[in-house]
């Protein structure tokens, strides 16, 4: 793969590098931000990066299993966002905050 990294010849490596960049941006966001909502958005960025890697490898291997898997990832992400956001609403009603540093009642 690495020797085929030309600028005007788009290969699978380009897509994988884009996916890795997106994943790292998502990781940095999860670590930096304290707002639970923005952390949720950054987790969505990470999920999308993984989806891009799955589709790229599926194209590279001439299969469509990766695409089917991306479909399932999207369905699970939809369920996760519904549950996560309703948890956030419940948390905001009880604690009047969505700052993850102030939600430390489980801390020993």
């Amino acid at each position: 793969m690495p020797e085929s990294l030309h600028i005007f010849q788009i290969t699978e490596t380009h897509y994988i590098v884009l996916s890795v960049i997106l994943f790292c941006i998502g990781t940095a966001g999860v670590l930096i931000r304290r707002n639970a909502l923005v952390i949720f958005l950054c987790i969505e960025i990470m999920l999308n990066a993984v989806n891009l890697a799955l589709v790229t490898f599926s194209r590279h291997m001439d299969q469509n299993r990766g695409e089917v898997f991306v479909f399932f990832v999207m369905a699970v992400a939809a369920a996760e966002s519904a549950i996560g956001l309703s948890l956030l609403i419940v948390l905001h009603r009880q604690k009047k905050t969505v700052d993850v540093d102030e939600i430390n009642t489980l801390k020993g």
Binding site: H14, L22, C24, I32, V38, I45, N64, E67, V68, F72
Partner: protein, 191 residues
């Protein structure tokens, strides 16, 4: 129709748009603007999927992520009352930001070195869904045939999962509003 000439330019356009708007999601203070930037990220990723010859994933990306999930997020932001100031990000401690950036940069280097140097993928057996097969049959047909024959059981399980998620949301929200109703009823009795 040959689009090979403009394909690199399209890729760089969509890739820079995706990366830039993803960075803005992390940098911007106001969560509502972060959500808007995330919609831009999802749309440009749909463009990347079209360049990868998988139109079905591009369409699903726009429908599910840019449509359903982002509408839900925006709705929750509106519901949580932005004016109260609880939602606006307070400035993060500088040490924390530096550590986070260093950690994610190390992660970047590790992942790049794994993906770009790994050649185990090259030796694995290839499938039958080549570019010519997609051209003749269409990616929608190939995707749907795989989904509804080989992956029928996971498909049904996912529908079950979505139903359980809906029930879970109703239980969570009803629990909290039921408690508030009880409190109000007690107040009424005290008066």
């Amino acid at each position: 129709m040959e689009l090979t000439f403009i394909k690199p330019f399209m890729f760089y356009f969509f890739a820079s748009l995706t990366t830039g708007s993803a960075l803005m999601v992390v940098i911007i203070r106001n969560p509502l603007y972060s959500a808007a930037m995330l919609v831009l990220t999802f749309f440009s990723l749909a463009g990347i999927y079209v360049l990868l010859n998988s139109e079905i994933i591009a369409v699903l990306q726009v429908f599910v992520y840019a449509g359903a999930i982002m509408v839900l997020v925006t709705f929750v932001i509106m519901l949580l009352n932005l004016r109260s100031g609880a939602l606006i990000n307070k400035p993060t401690h500088i040490i924390r930001s530096v550590v986070a950036v260093i950690f994610s940069f190390l992660l970047f280097i590790c992942l790049i070195s794994i993906f770009v140097s790994g050649n185990q993928v090259e030796n694995a057996p290839k499938g039958v869904i080549t570019a010519a097969a997609i051209e003749s049959e269409g990616s929608f047909q190939l995707f749907s045939r795989a989904l509804f024959s080989e992956y029928l059981l996971p498909f049904e399980l996912v529908s079950l999962l979505l139903t359980v998620a809906v029930i879970g949301v109703v239980v969570l929200i009803r629990g909290i509003s039921g408690a508030e109703e009880n409190k109000q009823a007690k107040k009424g009795q005290g008066r």
